[in-house]
């Protein structure tokens, strides 16, 4: 019975993780783009004067999309396909993250559990399979819209996905040869040692495969500079031209979910997954008191940094009689102090009186936090690249995929295979 509850817990955890990230990512996309382009970004929408740094704007956008009329044009080819296209894309993007391990094995009643929504050893194959299926959502949307621009957008997206799937798969093959497994958890375990003084992460062992994989990851998730499917100047909007309201929003939610899943995969393959460099699960559990102390310390430092940042930056820049931001800042300070205090009290309460099982749970929690942070950093890179590089032209993308990346990936496989067979 507890088995089923654990499975439900794992699925719910990972679903909540990716769904809660969507509004945060929307906000971050807007804020980071604003800061890169020297403008302030969303800062007006508020609930009783509380802006949450612009998060209320994301909520307002979501509410707007939810209550808008979902208009279906009369000219579409097939109502059924038109309706399920965003769902297909959404479902496939969500399923890809199901095999990513979020933490090391933890033992309950002698049974080992892995923090993975679907316990499946062929994780890499599952991921590649569903990532390529997700392009069907875009193709169905473009075809059923019965609109030349939509069709062109989906064709461009499909051709881009095909040409980048191959170098992506080949880059993964060289990593599979290196790690000698297709289970994503084995990938992480293989990265826990050290290599020439550096942590033995995939990016240090196989830098070429890492570069190829990350470039293809941008194309695979339809993000700039490879967002062929969109293109306001060439094809009006692309495959989602005829969609409105929530079905339109689902395409973007799917994009953010695919981005999260891809970031999680990049972290798992190339950045050591959930593990901290030089530290294994066992050593974390053995020294759980130090871990608890450092959690409390890091939380306090971050709380103080946040308070300093808010007091310096969240200020009104013009003369006003009733300054709402001062009231807002007091609420932020109070919330920060309460959250930090809760984390500190919990950490210090468990200090020194945890059994073996409790120590393991602490280590698992640390793994979850580390994995979430690493994923978040890669997501920031995704957004940062989007606001740095312009969109590539269609023929440039094709040439890069077929003529540059694919031979490089094959070369990388040959070198890897030679090193693995004759090197050891």
């Amino acid at each position: 019975m507890s088995e089923i509850w654990l499975i439900i817990f794992r699925i719910a955890f990972i679903l909540i993780f990716i769904l809660a990230l969507i509004p945060v990512l929307v906000l971050l996309e807007r804020k980071i783009s604003a800061f890169i382009q020297d403008r302030p970004g969303p800062n007006r929408a508020n609930i009783a004067g509380i802006r949450l740094g612009g998060l209320v704007q994301a909520l307002a956008d979501a509410l707007k999309l939810a209550i808008k009329e979902d208009f279906t044009p009369a000219a579409i080819r097939s109502k059924a396909l038109f309706t399920i296209a965003p769902m297909v894309l959404f479902l496939m993007s969500t399923l890809t993250i199901a095999v990513i391990p979020f933490s090391e094995y933890f033992t309950i009643d002698g049974v080992k559990h892995l923090m993975q929504a679907i316990p499946f050893d062929g994780g890499m194959l599952w991921y590649l399979g569903f990532a390529s299926l997700s392009i069907y959502g875009i193709m169905l949307a473009g075809w059923s819209s019965n609109n030349k621009y939509s069709l062109l957008g989906s064709l461009r997206a499909a051709s881009g996905a095909i040409s980048y799937e191959i170098p992506l798969g080949l880059a993964v093959v060289s990593m599979i040869i290196t790690y000698n497994s297709i289970s994503l958890n084995d990938f992480v375990i293989a990265q826990q040692g050290s290599f020439l003084g550096l942590p033995s992460w995939g990016i240090f062992i196989q830098p070429l495969a890492a570069i190829i994989f990350i470039i293809c990851a941008f194309a695979e998730t339809n993000r700039a500079p490879f967002d062929l499917a969109e293109g306001e100047s060439e094809i009006v909007a692309g495959y989602h031209l005829e969609y409105s309201a929530m079905s339109f929003a689902m395409f973007f939610m799917a994009e953010y979910i695919a981005m999260t899943a891809m970031s999680a995969l990049i972290v798992t393959i190339f950045f050591g997954g959930y593990s901290l460099p030089y530290l294994s699960q066992a050593s974390l559990a053995a020294n759980y008191e130090i871990v608890l102390l450092s959690i409390a310390g890091v939380a306090t430092i971050f709380g103080l940094l946040f308070i300093w940042w808010v007091s310096k930056n969240n200020v009104t820049r013009y003369k006003i009689n009733k300054d709402h931001r001062k009231k807002e800042n007091i609420i932020y300070y109070a919330l920060t102090i309460v959250i930090v205090a809760i984390i500190d009290i919990i950490s210090l309460y468990f200090y020194g009186n945890l059994g073996e099982f409790g120590a393991e749970i602490v280590a698992t929690a640390v793994n979850l936090i580390v994995f979430a942070l690493k994923t978040f950093i890669v997501l920031l890179v995704f957004i940062w690249v989007r606001w740095t590089l312009p969109r590539f032209r269609y023929d440039q993308i094709q040439r890069l995929g077929w003529e540059k990346l694919m031979p490089l990936a094959i070369l990388n496989i040959i070198i890897t295979a030679l090193v693995v067979v004759y090197g050891n």
């Binding site: 020297d38 403008r39 570069i211 310096k312 740095t388």
Partner: protein, 165 residues
């Protein structure tokens, strides 16, 4: 006349530029510098918090909302000649004239400008023979809740001052 042909020799890109990756990293470093500078101190971002702060560097030639000018004795200069309404490409000016006793000239009874139609081209100002309509009010936005409130009537137009925000 012979066609002049100028041949531009394309220089071959150096190797570092052709493999892109280092220049992409350089570009990302540039944007990251902006990001960090603005994140650490948002006062580095120059912007106006618009409804509370107003721009102060608007040129006097800027076309704001219309106003009707008056003589020193408080009488409107407008003689309801309909020149502005004729010149208006958007057909947004509606004038009804009435006679002024003991005078050869007319005066406007109704002078409505539909600001939702107006394209702010300034042709009405050019067309006016009496210099009665101007667009130097300095008001550059009008925020209202209903469509009716975007029709400026004669009282509103004549009570505006020059350069008031």
């Amino acid at each position: 006349m012979a066609i002049k042909i100028k041949k531009i020799e394309r220089k071959k890109m150096p190797f570092l530029e052709r493999i892109y990756i280092f220049y992409i990293i350089a570009g990302m470093a540039r944007t990251f510098k902006h990001f960090i500078r603005n994140l650490l101190n948002t006062k580095n971002i120059e912007f106006l918090e618009y409804p509370e702060q107003k721009p102060e560097d608007i040129s006097p030639r800027y076309r704001g909302l219309h106003r009707l000018t008056k003589y020193d004795n408080g009488e409107l200069k407008c003689v309801a000649c309909d020149m502005c309404a004729t010149a208006c490409p958007a057909k947004c000016i509606f004038i009804e004239a009435c006679e002024v006793p003991n005078s050869k000239e007319k005066a406007p009874k109704v002078f409505n400008i539909d600001l939702l139609e107006c394209v702010f081209c300034g042709l009405c100002v050019e067309a006016c023979p009496k210099d009665a309509i101007r667009m130097d009010s300095g008001i550059f936005t009008k925020v209202e809740g209903s469509k009716d409130s975007f029709i400026s009537d004669i009282n509103e137009l004549s009570s505006r001052k020059r350069g008031e925000f």
